[in-house]
Symmetry: C2
Subunit: 110 residues, 2 copies
């Protein structure tokens, strides 16, 4: 399991464009790639150019394979000039055992 | 829906203790409170005193109610001296429509 928070700062005048492309890429990744467990994009409510993405991959191999997909390649090349700064922060889940329970609740539509 | 990333810096010599208390609190919150959709605690792999918690509540009311629970009160009072800094960052999900799909994949045990 690979858990990451990507911290991305977007050029203010490209924000809407960036968000549309990221939304499409996240949706495609989760739908098409079995090894992409979650790509959950958010932005700070009081500072919308500060984007955070919670990314969960089944393995490092799944992540490497993700990097080679057409939808990721398209995202990367089109958004490159929109990104002011990028920090990829690898995380550890505090309690991997309860991850499915936690996210399962979302699924049950609460 | 209330989505938040809590950014918490822990006193290094209290880290193990803090993590045990947080783990218990997160588990109890998700199990006991219908309005707590997710409390997902992580820490930076290369900097384990940097804790991040993705918190998703059904509503602001559910969050307010969470603050009054015995398990949160216990967490808050016992960990107060272990916390060096705390930043509660309210977030917006980029694509609320796909949230259930994204987290549902976790549930299916991928």
């Amino acid at each position: 399991m690979l858990v990451r928070i990507s911290e991305i700062q977007i050029e203010p005048n490209r924000l809407d464009e960036y968000k549309a492309i990221l939304k499409e890429e996240a949706e495609a990744s989760v739908r098409l790639e079995p090894g992409v467990i979650s790509i959950f994009p958010m932005y700070e409510r009081d500072n919308p150019t500060e984007v955070r993405i919670l990314e969960i991959y089944a393995s490092r191999g799944a992540y490497q394979s993700h990097l080679g997909t057409p939808h990721f390649q398209k995202y990367k090349s089109t958004t490159l000039p929109m990104v002011k700064s990028l920090r990829l922060v690898d995380m550890e889940a505090l309690d991997p055992a309860t991850m499915t329970t936690i996210f399962g609740k979302m699924q049950r539509g609460r």
